[in-house]
Amino acid sequence: MSAPSVHKAAAIRLTGIDKRFGAVHANRAIDLSVAPGSIHGLLGENGAGKSTLMKILFGMIHADEGRVEIDGTPVAFRSSAEALSAGIGMVQQHFSLIPAFSVVENLIMGRARGSVLSRLTRKLDLKAAAERAQELSDRFGFGIDPLAKVATLSVGARQKVEILKALWGGARTLVLDEPTAALSPPEADELYAVLHRLRSEGTTIVLISHKMPEIMHLCDRVTVLRDGAVVGEAELAGQALDEPAVRQPIEAALVNMMIGRDKPELPERAPLEGPVILDIRGLTDGTRLGPIDLKVHGGEIVAVVGVEGNGQSELVELLMGLRKARDGMIGIDNHNVVDWPTQRRLDAGLAHISEDRHATGVADTMSLIDNASIGFVDGAPFSGSPLSLSQKQRRIFTEVLIEQHKVRTPSPDLPMASLSGGNQQKLVVGRELARAPRLMIAAQPTRGLDIGSTVAVQDALLRLRAEGNAVLLLSLDLNEVFAIADRLVVLRKGRIVGTMQSADFDIDQIGRWMSGAVEHVATKPEETDPQTLEAAS
């Protein structure tokens, strides 16, 4: 316990934290001070540097520069176990519970102390542990039965068990990484009640989130990160947030900080209105997306923006044929492809720069040649027949890609895993461009790239546009959207809540749409022209 003093030391004080991963500057001289007994929000898009910062706090990675103080004492944790013994607990986004075990068994797991012999011979006093767990649960209003099997608990209850687990280890400061990401609204409300209770009992909480209502509801103070730097802070305690007139300006200001306020320099571009290439009508997956209507013309880059998790991934999966549409149609070049398998869509002119490269873009253990060939193994020039796949042609293809897109590698025979993330991305972008796409779906195409590579990728997308093709850009980086998009649509809760031409780009309005400060702006449905579409094949 920290010694009581007249000036209460900050529960956590980070000073000048700086961290680079190669070309990526993940944390830029970050200062953060969390008052004891408060709930402190850490707001920012994915990739803003929140998780890096927290990993540094926990000693999971080491900062290049900067200082960490806990309760006024400088510390340098070498592992999360050390952090925990100093009273800091972290609840990760993904559950770390064993479903087949009871709550109390999960709590005591890995907490045994003493020599191996004593651990092996000592009787396991589950009953005492269960009593202590019950006590903790009652004290903070968790409402958890310590003897219940975790498998039988709801997601919301499991999240509470995770928190209980951190408290069990003696945490006085909790870091919660998007604790409500998987929770339903009522479950989230219950969790909020628990967090309030914890605060009133003196626990300090750092809440990582990009959910605006959550931040507004819970936090005493919020720090906003963007591009690895602190871009603003706001005091929320004591504000009359129930008043829309008070709340909305603060929300809009926070969203603006989160997504970037820089007034964009609009590059001169002649409008290129080609025929409709992508024509989405009434498309929905029945759960998280839609129904939405969207048209993208040839020679047009349309950006889909929105806070992460508002239906972007679902949209991409529907377009790729990786998710089943409940209703609606997807027109590509006047063919309704909604029932087509992925392969056929690719052959028809679809290309996709995947948002999660490791999940769907590359195969780490395969060679660069194999990775370059993904999606190219049908027909010329690599395969004359089902019985042959030309190694020579694939090698030449890969070498051309490496050369054209400046992928840095000693050899195309090396496994993909030997490349840095940026170089992997360059190869993927090159591969997708080589499909001569009619419609390019570019999801976070420049994430993790250095400036030179970013410009190269954006130029490539602009070139596709100039050649009369359509580009659907999903980006969290509004600067990128402003730089290359002709039009943007804002996705919120799976619906398109606003649309804007590049000439009218207005960051405040976008921020309001994204944050939901303007609840559902009725968008004029784009005029539909049934003649442009053939019947579904």
Binding site: R344, G379, A380, P381, L389, Q393, V400, S411, D413
Partner: protein, 402 residues
Amino acid sequence: MRAKRPDLPGTGTARLAPDMAEAMEARSHAPRAPGAYLALTRDRARTFGGRALIFVLTLGAAMLCALPFILLSGANLAVTAEAFFNGALGSKFAVAETLVQMIPLLIAGLAVAISFHGGLFNIGVEGQLIFGGLVAGVIGAEVNAPPLVLTALCLLGGIAGGAFAALIPALLKAYRGVHEVVTTIMINFIAISVALYAVSPAGPFVSATQPSATEKIPREARLSMIWDGTRLHFGLIIALLTVIGIWWLLYRTPLGFRIRLLGANPGAARASGVSVPRITIATLLISGGLGGLAGAVQVLGVYGRFFDAFSAGYGYDAIAVALLAALSPIAMIISAFFFAMLDSGAVQMQAVAGISREMVGVVSGLVVAFVAIQPAILHLWARLRQKTAQRRDRNITSGDPA
């Protein structure tokens, strides 16, 4: 417009940007820098060297761990070793026997390897092998056809039988996500029981003169001997051709590419248009077919008939064979030969040095274990190197040359 659009979208031909095609064309005609081939050869040599090292280390570690067991059985090590090598390689007959043992191991090893390449763990090769052997034996005994035609029918029947044994696990995996390890193991029991029944006294295919076996296959329809005075049969050629065929399939065909991609990253496979159920089924059927081929070759080449105990657990040893070869079809020739040596050497070892034949099982189990822990060892090795590098960095920055 950049690309010429195909008249009918979705024609089954990948699109390629014309400028890309031009660049490839130009590059294929451009003279290569003389260093390029050298670098390629060097890279390949390095890869080969690394693999060979892992092969030798795995084997060495397994043998070393088997040593205490040999010593425990009270044998003289020198006598044991001599007996082993005499049995495995000591004479023309010994070499031929080793090669005979190698044939089913090699083909069954390929069966295991192709499924592992696709990220599928076909543990049912033993059952597929027995089922394939049964079908081949039954066709050979019951069908009237000219000799070579009958041979071909037996081999094809064996392949079909093995594939059939893999069909149910394949369908369950592809459409219901049932784990293939569970289903293939269960099919093993079924296949073995069916085979036992087929040649049981009440069974439909049992020989009139020989219990637990089918009638003999006409001598002319069996695989011919290829080395005078030994049992070495044409199956060796079939096995080596299969090695080349499977290598080609995996590395030089679109189907093989899809199988490898599915194994390496199912998400990327799906996103690039690979039909996961279809490739899953294809992979398991090919794997099962190879298992069946191994059984058919054994029946046609060694015994001339199917009998219920004709497999000495080849389908299980094949897992060790495939893993020791790191799933490479070519390297599998070496690993299958090694296990065949163990098998044929063990007979002599048992007779002369009194070492139980079961020692072969111990070594093959150890090989599987050592292959399984390879990632852990490599990880440890990488961490160790990283730590050493860090310490060096720290010493440099602190100016301490120690």
